[in-house]
């Protein structure tokens, strides 16, 4: 466990160095680096018996792409106070995302790794197709909605798994990252009464987007719980040699779901 924690810290440091841009950091919040993604991809790459340098060659650009895409999710449509500073923040958010995308390409080009450039380009294409579907509320079925969420969350790691011929790890990443997103969406829904997922579900199930009755909310919670349960079952059914740290994270994730599910039942 110590060994993987050390590697994760080193990778995080490398990624932070790429993201370091004094002017950008002064004007826009730095995106957080999702350690779960690093852990998940490292665990998969370890299973493929890759060298430390080869692992870097996947994890660093993958995280740069992830951060680039996450940054562009922050671009606003309207400016609350119509102030110059807000406009500047939006402009720099666009450019920061573009810069991080460029850095992923530059990193892999310097290593002459054209195959991985292609793998990530395919994933970015797919992720954005699904993001637009989701954003435009252009999804007609609940199953498609959950699939879109899974693709958005997991496509980068999924495609690495395919590329290095570890399809079980791709499947694991698909359900692990979907589970993580669903737990987050559920928490948001419980705290704020809404979330992207629940808005979309309401749109599909009740063809509406406005305030829902208590029973309707409960029904949607039930659907979400069912999918969370499904992810859990799939994950526990995949036979993989997971390292201790990933197993711990998975247990934590499943545990946090149990707390949420209990709360849902209590709140009726």
């Amino acid at each position: 466990m110590k060994h993987i924690l050390k590697k994760m810290a080193m990778l995080k440091e490398q990624i932070e160095r790429f993201l370091h841009h004094p002017y950008l950091l002064h004007h826009i919040p730095m995106q957080s680096i999702d350690e779960d993604r690093i852990l998940l991809s490292l665990s998969m790459l370890e299973d493929a018996h890759l060298s430390s340098e080869e692992m870097d060659g996947y994890v660093v650009p993958m995280m740069l792409v992830q951060i680039a895409l996450d940054t562009h999710d922050e671009v606003t449509n309207s400016l609350p106070h119509q102030e110059e500073d807000e406009l500047k923040t939006r402009q720099l958010t666009v450019l920061a995302g573009d810069l991080y995308s460029g850095l992923y390409y530059d990193y892999l080009a310097k290593r002459s790794d054209l195959a991985t450039i292609h793998v990530f380009a395919e994933a970015i294409k797919e992720i954005n197709e699904h993001k637009i579907r989701l954003y435009q509320k252009d999804i007609g079925k609940i199953e498609s909605l959950f699939h879109s969420m899974a693709v958005i969350e997991s496509s980068l790691i999924y495609k690495i798994g395919e590329h290095i011929s570890l399809p079980l790890w791709s499947k694991f990443a698909y359900y692990y990252l979907l589970l993580k997103r669903l737990v987050r969406e559920k928490e948001l829904f419980m705290k704020q009464g809404t979330s992207v997922l629940f808005e979309q579900m309401a749109n599909i199930v009740f063809q509406k987007n406005k305030a829902m009755a208590k029973e309707q909310k409960h029904y949607l919670s039930h659907i979400c719980n069912r999918y969370i349960e499904h992810c859990k079952e799939e994950l526990l059914g995949i036979e993989l040699e997971c390292n201790e740290l990933l197993q711990m994270r998975l247990s934590e994730l499943i545990g946090s779901f149990s707390v949420i599910a209990k709360k849902t039942v209590e709140e009726g």
Binding site: H72, L92, L99
Partner: protein
């Protein structure tokens, strides 16, 4: 002579590039395909593909290989325009609604990212690590340049060097690299590819300076935005830098801010014109063009070289 007539011998190949562009922007999701088609139909001069193909003529020209670079570079350009319209909050481009106006900013961000990904997919069809290293470095430089541009807004004490570095990154680099990569994709000798890079760089600099001049001398109808919009947005361009050598003009210019009235802007534009800054800027644009022509002279004489000469002259001296 019309621009297209200057390279009519490329017509069939450019049509092929156009078809590939259509294919590259197709998505499984029809709305995304429509957005991309909306962009493609807005046209544009496809100047980058033209430079790629013409430069490819200095090596072993194989359209089946070179087209990948031409398509990738045009897609990169398209993706950056979609994001630039979000940055500039622009409603119209080339007489059509922008993606961000027709949908919204978030939609434009995802569309731009999608197109950028497609460009890299297309580019990886060219199995040439050097070409990828050059393109990747350029993309990073262009982004850094755009960030610098935001940083330099309303900074009226900036130097000529600062302006030149900015327009290099903003415009000249991608044109330079279009020429260089066209040559590399055709396995032209390194020396030829390097000279074509230099040619593209000089043409790009001349092109951007002309663009910056047109912002002051064009009408709203010709520009699709009010004259002086660049300055109003805080972009300190070459005519402004030259005009600020005049103390009286400088006093007025440094007071420009995002809410300066149209009347005040008109007064400042007139003042800038009176200082001779437009003529000085044209002279500098022309000096870059002359440098581009000088580089061409060192390249083997062929049909492509004549076409590059005509295209450079056209875009350096264009009226709108």
């Amino acid at each position: 002579m019309k621009l297209k007539a200057m390279y009519s011998f490329l017509n069939a190949d450019l049509q092929l590039v156009e078809k590939e562009l259509e294919a590259a922007t197709q998505s499984d999701y029809s709305l995304l395909s429509s957005a991309a088609l909306h962009l493609l139909q807005a046209g544009g001069k496809r100047i980058r593909p033209v430079f790629v193909l013409l430069s490819g003529k200095f090596g072993e020209y194989d359209i089946q290989r070179i087209k990948h670079v031409a398509v990738a570079l045009e897609l990169i350009h398209m993706a950056s325009l979609v994001h630039d319209d979000v940055i500039d909050d622009a409603e119209m481009r080339r007489g059509r609604e922008t993606i961000k106006a027709k949908w919204d900013n978030r939609f434009a961000m995802y569309t731009g990212d999608y197109i950028f990904a497609r460009s890299l997919e297309w580019m990886t069809r060219l199995n040439n690590p050097l070409a990828h290293r050059i393109l990747a470095r350029t993309i990073v430089e262009v982004c850094r340049g755009e960030i610098e541009q935001i940083k330099d807004k309303y900074r009226f004490d900036q130097t000529l060097r600062c302006y030149l570095r900015r327009i290099k990154r903003k415009t000249a680099l991608l044109i330079a690299v279009s020429c260089q990569l066209g040559a590399i994709a055709a396995n032209a000798p390194k020396e030829v590819a390097d000279r074509l890079y230099l040619f593209g760089y000089y043409v790009g600099m001349s092109f951007q300076i002309t663009d910056d001049i047109l912002d002051f001398i064009g009408t709203q109808e010709q520009l699709g935005k009010p004259a002086g919009s660049d300055l109003l947005q805080g972009n300190v361009t070459l005519p402004v830098l030259f005009a600020m050598e005049n103390v009286h003009a400088k006093e007025k210019i440094v007071r420009v801010h995002p809410h300066t009235s149209a009347d005040e802007m008109n007064e400042i534009i007139t003042l800038i014109k009176q200082t001779g800054a437009i003529e000085q800027s044209y002279a500098m644009s022309d000096r870059y063009l002359q440098k581009a022509f000088a580089v061409l002279e060192t390249l083997p004489k062929n049909k492509a070289r004549s076409a590059l000469y005509e295209v450079a002259k056209y875009i350096g001296k264009r009226k709108f």
